[in-house]
């Protein structure tokens, strides 16, 4: 079992990670390594801006940054996920019932096939 205070390690790692990411982004923008803000809807490529190197199965992804450090596009993607969450509605009764039935169907299917 890990020590009690070892949990602080999590906090350090998280904070240091956050600071490094921020510095990296600022630096990449400043030295013109190719990372730049191009606005919403920029396509994400696996490296640089080579259109032939679209990430397989993720062709539909679009981001906010472009250039070599395409990871920033993914960060934008996460941001958009939250925007979608924000639009959640309380839902209709029929939706609730449908979700319940789907859940039971999944459990039932898994147990009957594999159980």
């Amino acid at each position: 079992m890990f020590g009690y205070w070892d949990a602080l390690y999590f906090l350090y790692a998280f904070l240091i990670g956050l600071i490094i990411s921020y510095l990296l982004m600022k630096w990449a923008e400043k030295v013109s390594m190719g990372t730049r803000r191009t606005g919403d809807g920029t396509k994400i490529y696996i490296s640089g801006e080579d259109q032939d190197k679209v990430i397989p199965h993720f062709e539909h992804l679009s981001g906010y940054f472009t250039g070599r450090h395409v990871m920033w596009g993914l960060i934008r993607g996460v941001h958009r996920m939250f925007l979608v969450f924000r639009r959640e509605h309380t839902g209709l009764l029929t939706d609730y019932v449908a979700y319940l039935l789907i859940t039971i169907a999944i459990v039932l299917g898994a147990l009957v096939i594999g159980g």
Binding site: F2, A7, F82, T90, L100, I104, A110, G115
Partner: protein, 527 residues
């Protein structure tokens, strides 16, 4: 034998409330406090007895003999309390007691309080019944008692549309989920001819049929709904914020535990014991593959802890944020139960289960505190919109302090109680499958983001809404401070509590030597 009093006292309290209320407003409030206090004392006694002796308490209502008189089956109900049930009973009675005290101030301006206190005692009674019963149909009866009281309490403030809408939705879909559970019970009874859980465990191990698997699926599906797991969590995000805050504290802290994750663990380990079925499979005998159910639980757990915590980040309604956070925390508990099933009989499995049980207790205390804080804010400021609550720390320092402790504990910051339970769940997940641990940590990052936002709001510049705000009255402050003290004390003794209480509880639930089943057989023999 003190066990029956755990039901008799709140039952008597609830049904005598309309008569007692005729004696005056204050009397009924004191009556509710006395009844819930006495229930707490009984539950503490039962917990201490089970913990000290490490033996399961058995009690039969009705016939003592396992053989029916005049009919083929015995007419009786078996109550069977192991350490898990006793621990939950103590938690329920403790949080219930504080919620009743809090209500003295919080519900002061409401009318129809005799109905309110009757329902709150019935809610407590339902939950206590669930955690002490050893009879699957009796479990269903208590589940319905608890659920019906919850539906009514969610819609208690019937002058607002939120309460009515949430209550109706909760009732309709909750009843459907309950029907699936009842169908599961009917299938098991039809197949095996008994309703006693321990005896069902033996019967199912002897002859595990497709019907038993279908019944298990209905139980798990229905109980996932009752736990508020994703994707059947929507009712929770509506119902918990709509209820009065003292009730939200009980709904989020207790109802989704007793009627949800506790029942999942009891059915998976009590009726379909993974060890028993793994043993049968080792000899190529017919058995239920419990790994499948373990992975099903883990799948829903990961979904729940990610979506629940992520949804909490974007909320602007404080109570809705706490409700989504409850969804996220249920994910951790389910993860512990899932890994406990998958890694049954190993160190990782035992730790995971201990972590899940520990988190059930911790989350009950923490979420009760957070909802009481939300109630204090609504009571004093009149809004739960985070955009209007800026600068609350200066006007309500004690409430803000309570929130800070609650938020830090739920994120899992040492040295508070939430840290220890989450840490055990992370550790056991990492031992079983590091990917699951990574998912659990990502969930916590979302949780951190959500609560940091509220904290910044409280500490921000003073808004117009809170100019007149001041601390609530003592009856509301004291329960919050008691919870704060318990959270801090439990946080300072994390491994002692884990080693002395949670691990023995997990062992008793796992029943490596069939303790739960043997207790019944030793006592009386058959069904």
């Amino acid at each position: 034998m003190t066990l029956p009093f755990l039901i008799i006292i709140p039952l008597f309290g609830a049904f005598s409330m309309p008569i007692v209320s005729l004696l005056g407003k204050k009397i009924k409030e004191y009556w509710a406090v006395i009844v819930s206090g006495a229930t707490l004392a009984v539950s503490a006694k039962i917990f201490y007895t089970v913990w000290k002796t490490n033996e399961i308490i058995l009690y039969t209502l009705g016939s003592d003999s396992p053989i029916g008189k005049g009919v083929k089956f015995p007419i009786r109900i078996v109550w069977e309390v192991d350490l898990f049930g006793a621990l939950l009973a103590l938690t329920i009675a403790f949080v219930g007691f504080l919620a009743v005290i809090y209500s003295l101030g919080y519900m002061k301006h409401d009318t129809g309080l005799e109905k309110y206190y009757t329902l709150i005692l019935i809610l407590e009674l339902g939950m206590l019944g669930i955690v002490i019963t050893g009879d699957i149909f009796n479990f269903y009866v208590f589940l319905e008692i608890m659920s019906i009281a919850s539906y009514a309490l969610v819609a208690f403030r019937n002058d607002t549309w939120e309460g009515i809408e949430a209550g109706i939705k909760y009732m309709f879909v909750g009843s459907l989920a309950s029907s699936f559970i009842l169908l599961g019970i009917a299938l098991l009874y039809g197949q095996y001819g008994t309703l006693t859980m321990s005896y069902l465990a033996i019967k199912i191990a002897e002859n595990p049929t497709l019907v038993a698997k279908i019944a298990l699926a209905f139980f798990i599906g229905g109980l996932l709904f009752k736990s508020g797991a994703v994707p059947v969590h929507m009712w929770l995000a509506d119902a918990h914020p709509a209820a009065p805050s003292s009730i939200s504290a009980m709904l989020s802290g207790l109802v989704i535990k007793a009627g949800g994750v506790y029942a999942v663990a009891r059915i998976v380990f009590g009726i379909f014991n993974p060890g028993l079925h793994a043993y049968l499979r080792a000899f190529n005998a017919p058995a239920v593959n419990m790994d499948v159910i373990g992975w099903v639980i883990v799948f829903f757990a990961c979904l729940t802890l990610l979506v629940g915590n992520a949804m909490a980040v974007v909320q602007t309604d404080m109570k809705r944020l706490f409700a989504f956070s409850s969804v996220g925390q249920i994910g951790y508990i389910l993860l512990g139960i899932g890994i406990g099933t998958l890694a049954y009989g190993t160190k990782a499995g035992e730790l995971a289960l201990a972590g899940a049980i520990y988190h059930i207790v911790n989350h009950a205390l923490i979420k009760a505190l957070l909802f009481l804080v939300a109630g204090a804010v609504i009571h004093q400021v009149g809004t739960k919109n985070l955009n209007e609550l800026s600068g609350l720390a200066k006007k309500m320092p004690l409430t803000t302090f309570s929130f800070v402790i609650g938020a830090a504990a739920i994120i899992g910051l040492p040295p508070l109680n939430g840290f220890a339970s989450k840490w055990i769940i992370y550790e056991s997940s990492a031992m079983y499958n590091p990917v699951l641990a990574a998912i659990a940590v990502v969930g916590t990052v979302f949780s951190l983001a959500a609560y940091t936002r509220v904290l910044f709001t409280f500490l921000g510049r003073e808004s117009d809404m809170i100019k007149e705000a001041k601390e609530p009255e003592k009856s509301m402050i004291i329960p919050m401070l008691i919870l704060v003290a318990v959270i801090i004390v439990m946080g300072l003794l994390p491994w002692q509590i884990s080693d002395k209480i949670m691990v023995p509880t997990a062992r008793m639930l796992e029943q490596l030597n069939g303790e739960y089943i043997m207790a019944l057989l030793k006592f009386i023999g058959g069904a």
